[in-house]
Structure formats: C-alpha cells, structure tokens
C-alpha cells in the first residue's frame, strides 16, 4: 500500500468520521476541513508522484467485494491528472468551508455536511484510480449519492429539493448509459479489469465500438454537462453550498471528461474521425448555449453554472479535435489537441472554483444571489472583489492569466485542421474557431456584467449596503486559487508536456512527448506560433508603472476632488438610476431573441373611474430555455403518464402479487424445460 494512498484514505476518513462524531461548533467544522486538506494534499502528492515519476500505482483487493472481480485500483498518468485535480481543489475548498459553514450552524446538520463532503472527495479521488468496472461504477455511484446529499443541504430554500431531484435522476440515467457501455465492452473480455477490456476491445466489431462510444458519450456527457444533457447543472450548482458548487463545477464535471477519455481513448483506442466531429459539434453547441444563457442570468451562481457548461463545451471542442486528428492518423496534432483540452480543464477548475467561492462570500455577506439586489460590494468586501476580479479576468480569457493561455493553445491546436484536405474537416474547424472566438467575447461581456453589477456602483438593497468582508479562512481559500490562476498561466511551458505525457502511449498517440517551448516562451511543437505569458505580464506591469510614474511627474498637482456622479444635473441619485443586470444584457438579448424567445406579459391596471389614469403596470419577461420546453417537459410528462399506467400493476392487493409470483415461476420453469443447459 502506497504511503500517499493510505494518507489520502486516512485523511478523508478522519474528516468524515470526525465530522460525524464531533458535537459540532468549531471543532466539528475544523475536523471536517482538516480531513479535506489532509486528504487533498495526499491525493495531490500521489498524483504528482505518478505524473512525474512515470510508474503507475496499483492496488488490488479482490477479496473485498468478490463479485465481479472485487476492487482493483491502478493509477496511471491519465488518472493521476484527474486525481491531482481533486486534491488541488480540495485544499482551498476545505480551508474556505471551515468558516463558510459556520453560517449553517443551528439550521442544517453540519455532521452530515462534513461527512458527506469528505466521502464525496474520497469517492471522487478513487474514480480515476479504478481499474475494473465494479470499482469504477461503485466509486461513481458513491460520488453521485454523496453529492446528492450535499446539494440537499440547504433544504429550506424553495428550489433545492427540485434541483436535487433533477440531479439524482440525470446522474442515474447517465450511470445506466455508462453501465451499458461497459457491459458491451466487457462482452468479449475474460474479466472486467480495464487491462482485459483494452485487449478485448480490439476484437469488437465497428458497430459495437460505435455503440460503446455513443453510450459513453451520453452517460459521461451528462455528468460533464453537455447540451442537451446539462439541465441539472444550472439547478444543482446554485442550490448547493458554495464550496460544494466549486467542487462540483471544478472537479466533478471533469470526471465526465475522464470517463469519456478512459473509454474512448484508452480502452477503445480511438475511432473513426466522425467521433471527433460529433464531439466538436456538441462542444460548440454547449459552448454557445452555455454562454448565451449565462449572459441572461440574474442569479450569480446560475450564471456561473451556465458558464461551466460553456467551458466544458470548449474542453469537448479540444477533445473532438483530438479524436478527429486521431481518426485521420495525425497523431502528433491529436496529442497536442488532447493536451490543450486537459489544460483548459485544469484552468477552468482553478478559476471556476475561485468564482464560486467568491459568489459564496457574497452570499455569506448579503444572503442573496440576485445581482439586481447587489452592488457596491467592492467597498464592503474588498478582498472578495479583488479575487473575483482575478477569476473574471481568467474566465474571460484575458492575458496574461491562465484562461487566455489555454484558449490560445486551443486555437493553435485547431489550426492544423483548417489546412487538412480530408472532407468536412476544414469547415468543422472553421466552425470550431468561430465558436471559440464568439464564446470568448460573450464570456467577457458576461463577466463584465457579473463583476460590474455585483461589486461596482451603488448598493441596490439594504442587504448590500451593510455587507461585511468574509472571514480569514474564506479569504485564504480564495487567495490560494487566485495565485493558482496566475501560476498555471505562467507555468504553461512546464504543465503542457506533463499533460501530453499523461496521454502519450494510449491509443496510437506518440510516446516521445513534444516540447512546448522552454524558459518563459511557450510555443507549439509543430508550427511557429510562440508567445510568452510571463513576459506579457511583465511588460504590462512595467508599462503601467512607467505610465503612472510619468503622469505623476508631469501632470498637474491638483488634488483629486470628490464630487457627485454627473447625471445631467439631476438633484439626487438613487440606486434605481443605475444600470441593472437585466439592462446590461438587453442588447444581446435582442440580438439573440430568436434563440431565447423571451415571453412577455404586460398587464395594465386602469383606474376604476377613468380609463385615462393608470393605477399600475406589471411587466414580466421570462426566458425558459427552449430545450427544457420542447425536450424535457414533454419527456417528463410522458414518463409521468407511463408511471401512472404502470402503477396499476401495484394494486396493493396480496392476491395480485402472489399471482405475479406464480406467473413468473411458471415462466421460468417453462424456459428451463424448453432450453436446457
């Protein structure tokens, strides 16, 4: 048993058990947080050991659950990356959670929260380590169930129970689809260990391979949050406590990517080019839909949730490019595309968690997520505002932070595709590039809105006026992630080869890993594209400093005078006069009105005595996502109708049940007689 593995199990175990046993208060919260940080650090250490050392870590416990070959763990480089992601995010979220859940004391059960959170992290850490089907699905289901309970924490809030219900239903649908995929894959194999599945996959017919891939895509895609299987995301992520949302958005949806990579790339060894084309199409759709709905949101956490859908779409574009190049035998380009996709997944984990923790800090201070009731928080919450700004800059893909570097890499990895002569590849790549650019611009607009309306200008409600800064542990948690955002961007030269090494060797990807530049300069292994995030950052800082100095020296010596905001001479300024979140997004709402199809209700109450006087006007406009209206609503109605019909079988009468038993028994006996052996 590897030391780090044991420490990881021990850490999360101590956290879970301690949270359950402790009487509550600071000690209970403290032990849960301590367990998370310890387990996370151990997991991170283990993953670095495997990623940098190269040797996989294995552990087999066949006797533990002896059906279906028992538990088996094997951490190779691909799994190590995702394990590292879990560990990396567990630390700041653990530190953050220590003070954050203090607000829950007396209202919700902290024991359950602490225990479930540690078990959630444990099962998430073990998913990438799984080496046979049973272990994988067991850990996957454990992850889903623990996260279900975590989403259900704030059970008093109106939407939470419905959100948790949606989440549970969709994650189990995904599980069923993934299970079906695994079973087909295991049809020809001797055992269900991944090694055997890999060798057996070579003997599958193309039709079966395609089926497995599609089932894996549907199953893992729903966990990742690909349109149209993403509907649980905007419901569940806002409902959960903020550090849980950070973990779900940062890590859990990436495990959907892991599942797809494991089955599609590792076990099946790649496939025809249309797999990649399908992924690019779905990724582009998710990216555009995600960012467009994020723009229209007034709820801060729902905006972040839709933005996660967008970023997963970008990751899928990278994955699709990888599969596409693999199908066309351009293995070097495929490796670069996959590495760029994983790098974006890493960066998204960093800045999305940071944003969710920031939103949690806002929620902690003001008890509301509605941006139209916030504003002016930069004065009351200066640290949160600064960290949120870093996250917003990163997610908008602005230099020199990590979001920009990963978007640059994604762009550059798509470039070889535009030159390709294979049919339909060039138009697909052009589509991907346009979508990438469009979502970058729209994401920038969305986060100007999110940061600007929430933190700048004047407070729009009394809650926002008396907002106070977050406690120290929450600030430390956010600070760690903000530093990570900066570091991941600057250290891309070192991180990219490590990611490429994680994938090299699987499928037909080339083993000598290409270099991505050296020193401060990041470059593409194939083309001549080069850039240096470090030097750009340095340049920006130097020029800002020089400008400030020159202005200081040569500009006038008048002291800065503070005066009222210029409003064309109006007498007084109220918060009603500033731009709201809905107003900010209105031009884009009009531009994309065909997609949004907003409903409008206008009701005017006239004075009973005269129709020339208006008593009140009520205007209501709503955007219901069209796939929910046309896809899910009919589906849910139909399922309800069927279940009511099926309920007729459960009549409650013992006679009927005995009849069913007899029929079943007779049927089995007939089967045995007719088909012996």
């Amino acid at each position: 048993m590897n030391l780090e593995f044991g420490l990881m199990l021990g850490g999360y175990g101590v956290g879970a058990v301690g949270a359950l046993l402790m009487p509550g208060g600071r000690a209970g919260r403290g032990i849960a947080a301590f367990g998370m940080v310890w387990g996370g650090a151990a997991g991170l250490a283990l993953s670095l050991q495997v990623l940098l050392g190269g040797a996989a870590f294995t552990l087999e416990v066949p006797t533990l659950l002896s059906i279906a070959d028992g538990l088996a763990f094997r951490l190779d480089a691909l799994g190590a990356f995702f394990l590292g992601l879990v560990g990396l995010l567990a630390i700041p979220c653990g530190v953050y959670g220590f003070e954050y859940v203090g607000a829950y004391e007396g209202r919700y059960s902290l024991r359950l929260l602490g225990a479930m959170l540690n078990m959630f992290l444990l099962t998430m850490s073990l998913v990438p380590c799984a080496d046979n089907v049973l272990t994988f699905l067991l850990m996957w289901e454990g992850m889903s169930l623990t996260s279900y309970f975590l989403v259900l924490t704030e059970a008093d809030e109106p939407d939470t129970i419905a959100a948790a219900g949606w989440y549970l239903a969709m994650t189990h649908v995904g599980l069923a689809l993934a299970l079906a995929g695994f079973l087909i894959l295991a049809a020809n194999a001797t055992t269900t260990a991944f090694g055997d599945l890999r060798t057996a996959a070579a003997s599958l017919t193309p039709a079966m391979r395609n089926t497995v891939f599609l089932l894996a895509l549907a199953g893992f895609g729903s966990k990742a949050g690909i349109v149209p299987l993403h509907v649980w995301l905007p419901r569940a992520h806002p409902a959960a406590p903020s550090h849980v949302s950070a973990l779900m958005s940062g890590v859990m949806i990436k495990l959907g990517v892991y599942g797809l990579l494991r089955i599609g790339l590792d076990l099946l060894g790649g496939g025809p080019a249309w797999w990649g084309a399908l992924l690019i199409g779905l990724g582009a759709l998710s990216a555009v839909v995600g960012v467009l709905y994020a723009l229209m949101e007034n709820d801060l956490k729902r905006l972040l949730a839709y933005s996660s859908v967008e970023n997963i779409g970008l990751v899928f574009i990278g994955l699709g490019a990888g599969f596409l190049f693999l199908g066309l035998d351009a293995t070097a380009a495929a490796l670069v595309a996959f590495a760029a996709a994983l790098y974006h997944a890493l960066n998204h984990a960093a800045f999305k968690s940071l944003l969710f923790l920031g939103a949690g800090s806002v929620l902690h201070a003001t008890r509301t997520r509605d941006m139209n009731r916030l504003g002016g928080l930069i004065r009351g919450l200066p640290w949160t505002a600064a960290f949120f700004l870093v996250g917003a800059l990163a997610i908008a893909g602005l230099p020199p932070l990590n979001g920009f570097v990963s978007e640059w890499l994604l762009f550059q990895s798509l470039l070889p595709g535009i030159e390709s002569r294979a049919p339909m590849v060039a138009p697909l790549m052009t589509l991907a590039v346009s979508v990438l650019a469009l979502t970058a611009g729209l994401a920038a607009a969305g986060f100007v809105k999110a940061f600007g309306i929430t933190f700048l200008a004047i407070p729009r409600s009394p809650a926002a006026e008396c907002a106070h800064e977050a406690p120290v542990s929450m600030r430390v948690g956010m600070g760690i992630l903000a530093v990570a955002c900066a570091v991941f961007g600057l250290a891309a030269v070192a991180i990219m080869p490590a990611l490429a090494a994680a994938l090299a060797g699987s499928a037909r990807l080339p083993v000598p890993v290409p270099g991505f530049g050296s020193g401060v300069s990041l470059s593409m292994p194939s083309g001549f594209a080069r850039m240096s995030p470090t030097l750009v950052a340095l340049g920006l800082i130097l020029i800002t400093g020089a400008a400030w100095l020159v202005v200081r020296l040569f500009a006038s010596r008048w002291p800065v005078r503070v005066s009222a905001t210029w409003g064309c001479g109006r007498v007084v300024q109220t918060p009603r006069m500033e731009y709201t979140s809905t107003a900010f997004a209105e031009p884009l709402r009009r531009v994309f009105a065909e997609l949004y199809r907003p409903t409008q209700d206008l009701s005017i109450d006239f004075h009973p005595e005269s129709r020339y006087f208006v008593q009140s006007i009520e205007y209501r406009s709503e955007i219901v996502p069209w796939f929910e209206r046309y896809l899910y609503a009919p589906l849910v109605t139909r399922v309800r109708r069927w279940s009511i019909w099926v309920r007729a079988l459960q009549s409650g009468s013992a006679h009927a049940y005995l009849t069913y038993l007899v029929i079943a028994l007779l049927g089995l006996l007939t089967l045995l007689i007719v088909r012996p052996g």
Partner: protein, 169 residues
C-alpha cells in the same frame, strides 16, 4: 457622389473673424494668466441652457457650423462638464434650473471659466420679475464674462469666448 461633388463645389465656407464688437462684451475681471495660457490652444465648452428661449442656442449652434467654425481656434464643444473648461450659460436662470446649473458648475474640473450669453443671462431680459426665474447667472454661479444681445450674433459670442481666454484674433 453628388454629395462629394457638392462639397468640392462649395469649397471653404468659413468667414474670417473680423475684429471689433467690443461693445457687447463685458469682461468682469481679468482672467487668471495660468488659465489663459492653458486654454490658449484648446478650449472645451459645455453649453448649459438655464431656461432660455433657445434663441441664443440657435446662435451658438451656428458656431459649430462651417460659416463661423469655432474649431479653427481650438474651441470645441463637449458633452460632459467633466471634460469641459468653459461653461457657456444662456437664459435667465429659472427656479428648476438653478440647482442643475450649480451641479454642472461643481462637476467641472478646475481651472474653469464661465461665459454667460445673452441679455437674459445678465439682466433676466424680458423674463425679469417672473415667478419662475431664480435670478441672473452671476447670482447663481461666478461668471467671468457676459456677451450682450438678444440674441447675440455668433461672431460676438466667438469673440467673447476668445477674449476670455486672452486670444484675440
């Protein structure tokens, strides 16, 4: 194309600014030398209508046109008082515009100048004594120069502005 050929046919329509017209200009005090030096080449004007009949506004709008062309002297109009150096105020200051005028003056960064245009601005003109009028401009904000007339000609207004910044053509 017809537009371009018309432009070429008309040529330069700007009239040179003739000297003179000192009778309508009343400089209240010698403008600070520093302000004069600062605004000699570039002067941003924010026009404030403090309740006028718009007669002066029509004349002022002529300043931006081709015939009177204030821009050739570096004098240009801006939208926000934060960008402005000189406030060009017209009209007897009505009660409703008194506070906005003061707010506009406060919003303008120093060094700033005020030129009040028209008879109404100095003496309330025909509206003197009305219940809606709060007072003349210099009773609300400090004024540097008056340009008399009802309404004054654009050339007079232009000469007034140039006199205030010490740039007499």
């Amino acid at each position: 194309m017809r537009l371009l050929s018309k432009i070429l046919r008309v040529g330069l329509a700007t009239e040179p600014l003739a000297p003179g017209g000192d009778d309508v200009l009343r400089l209240l005090h010698e403008v600070d030398a520093r302000a004069r030096q600062l605004f000699g080449r570039a002067l941003a004007i924010r026009e404030v209508d403090a309740g006028s009949c718009n007669g002066c506004e029509l004349e002022i709008s002529g300043l931006m046109g081709p015939v009177y062309d204030s821009e050739r002297f570096g004098v240009y109009f801006v939208a926000s008082p934060r960008h402005a150096d000189l406030l060009l105020v017209t009209g007897p200051v009505t009660r409703n515009m008194a506070v906005p005028l003061v707010k506009t003056y406060e919003a303008t960064p120093a060094p700033k100048l005020v030129v009040a245009v028209g008879d109404c601005a100095r003496t309330c003109g025909v509206f003197k004594g009305s219940y809606a009028v709060a007072g003349s401009v210099d009773q609300i904000i400090p004024v540097d120069a008056f340009v008399d007339g009802c309404p004054p000609e654009p050339t007079a207004i232009l000469r007034g502005i140039l006199a205030v910044i010490g740039r007499r053509r």
